[in-house]
Amino acid sequence: MKNNSRRGFMGKAFGAVAGVGAVASLYAMKRSWDPLPSVKAAGFTTLDMSQYKENELVTEKWRGKPIFVLKQTAEMVKKAEENPKDMERLIKIGNDYFLVCLGLCTHLGCIPGYNPDEQSFLCACHGGMYDFTGDVTKAPPPRGLDIPPFKVDGNKLVLGEEGPEYKKMLENGITLKA
């Protein structure tokens, strides 16, 4: 009897030691699988916004992801003004308005194509569509194209930093945290 309880105690003691070790090693495994610090640090890109032409889609790269930059024509801005929600998606730099968004479909992450004549985006993967402000016009994508964190700096745009204009977009639910 005495023996049995001693063995029982040893079993429990071993269980406790092994349990602590297991939890600790799971944590270490989780951390090893995390993105490296160097990957996270390389997350900033600066764009010179004076180089873009109206209604011509340019694809930049930020954190390995494509970023769409679309300078709006006066006519497009007028159209957007009719719908305040559209207007809020645009970024004003000087007197110009830009759509700057992640070029990844909010459905499953394919890259939509831009048609300058119809001023709309089509995601060929599952047929999703967006207008020139990146707002979704045809499902399956659940929402408009996401806008990356940005900060306006004169006529430059820093991607990866959260400026006041971006924070306002987040608050208004224009975009999700990308």
């Binding site: 699988w33 995390d34 993105p35 490296l36 990957v39 997350g43 694809t59 790269k61 954190r63 390995g64 992801k65 494509p66 070029g103 459905h107 499953l108 992450g109 394919c110 890259i111 060929a124 993967c125 599952h126 047929g127 499902a139 399956p140 994508p141 659940p142 999700l176 945290k177 990308a178």
Partner: protein
């Protein structure tokens, strides 16, 4: 300690130390197989052999493959294909086997469903088999990443995005899985590790479990007859081979198994030498480009049916439907409420259910391949709904089945 005597020969020497005679008896000469099973029961052996082919060809590919985003594409498409002597052979064997193995798995699965081989004590065979199916799917997906072509990259993008869980927006989880914001070096390395080590280990373990699960309930037979294996084995050993319902695994049954395997291998190597391209997507011969999506993204043919179940719905509903399709087959032994473990043709409504399910999955597969437009989306939608509906009615139609 056991008593050792001076060995008469090598066989005796080994036998004293490893009991090889006992092993041979338990695993081969007195492992009993019912007589009345047809060639469809040889699929298990074909799968084991195909797995062996994948392992050997994989080892040779591993010697020249470079898990680096700048080198991977050329190491496969140039070094292995052009420079390495017979490198093309290993690649074609590996590629064709990866595709064909799923065809055989599906035949194996549907054979099991048709003959009710997942019922009445054989549940663990079915469940361990489904676990193998999942492991093979993960193995195929991780292997598909390695040549780092356009389809690799974008399949990696789309599939890992599924883990964001639609409206849950678990983007942190997706980035954690990738080890980067997009599929990049960390992603390639970890999928390389999964493909060559962790998942193969899991597969080997699961194959052990799958075989072990067979040991007590024994393999089912063509008539769903409940055989008393001990009594029949006794008859056989007493010399009454004609009246016994069972035969030895070795050499009796193995002869038939190997005959089927032989035919399979001829077809297999015909594909390897003359039609290897069916297992290779042309889009994957463009190097990965994170800034350009191919016009039309689709998975390999064996994932098309579950991909098509995801596609016609909005994101969240689609994800739920997709998750449903992934797990529902596991529950088959419990959703089929009928007491019968006999061929579908002798059962009630289940016989229509079986063919409806098979045809529906073929339609889903076909629709998953074509672009999601017009009438195809409509057919896809109805086929997806039919799939879900069939599973929902299964317990009801089998409940009222009379015992045969």
């Amino acid at each position: 300690m056991a008593h050792f005597t001076k060995a008469k020969n090598l066989h005796d020497w080994l036998n004293q130390r490893l009991a090889i005679d006992t092993l041979n008896r338990v695993l081969a000469t007195e492992y009993w197989i019912p007589k009345n099973i047809n060639f469809l029961w040889a699929m298990g052996m074909i799968l084991a052999i195909t797995f062996g082919l994948l392992l050997v060809s994989g080892i040779f590919l591993l010697m020249y493959y470079q898990p680096n985003i700048d080198l991977a594409f050329d190491s496969v498409n140039y070094t292995i294909m052009q420079e390495v002597g017979y490198g093309w052979l290993w690649r074609h064997v590996h590629g064709v086997a990866a595709s064909v193995v799923f065809l055989i798995i599906y035949i194996h699965m549907f054979t099991g469903i048709y003959y009710g081989s997942y019922k009445n004590g054989r549940e663990m065979i079915w469940i361990s088999g489904m676990l193998l199916f999942v492991a093979f799917s993960a193995e195929a997906f991780s292997g598909y990443m390695l040549p780092w072509g356009q389809m690799s990259y974008w399949a990696g993008m789309v599939i890992t995005n599924l883990f964001a869980g639609g409206s849950l927006h678990a983007d942190g989880l997706v980035e954690w899985i990738r080890g980067d914001y997009v599929p990049a070096q960390a992603f390639l390395n970890r999928f390389f590790m999964l493909h060559v080590l962790l998942i193969p280990l899991a597969i080997i373990g699961l194959i052990g479990l799958h075989f072990g699960a067979l040991r007590i309930p024994h393999v089912n037979n063509q008539d769903g007859e409940e055989i008393d294996f001990d009594a029949e084995a006794k008859k056989y050993l007493a010399g009454d081979k004609a009246n016994s319902k069972v035969i030895r695994f070795m050499n009796d049954f193995l002869a038939k198994d190997m005959m089927v395997v032989g035919i399979f291998l001829i077809l297999f190597f015909y594909l390897v030498f003359y039609h290897y391209d069916f297992a290779m997507d042309p889009v994957n011969f463009d190097p990965a480009d994170g800034l350009k999506t191919p016009a039309h993204i689709y998975p390999e043919w064996y994932f098309l049916w579950s991909y098509e179940i995801l596609r016609p719905f909005s994101t969240d509903v689609g994800l739920i439907a997709f998750a449903f399709a992934q797990v529902i087959f596991f529950l088959l032994p419990f959703l089929d409420k009928s007491p019968n473990a006999v061929p579908a043709s002798r059962r009630g409504l289940f016989k229509y259910w079986f063919w409806a399910m098979l045809i529906d999955m073929i339609i889903l597969t076909a629709m998953g391949k074509v672009p999601p437009e017009g009438v195809f989306s409509t057919i896809g939608l109805y086929a997806a709904l039919t799939f879900i509906g069939l599973w929902i009615i299964l317990p009801f139609i089998t409940k009222f089945e009379k015992k045969v």
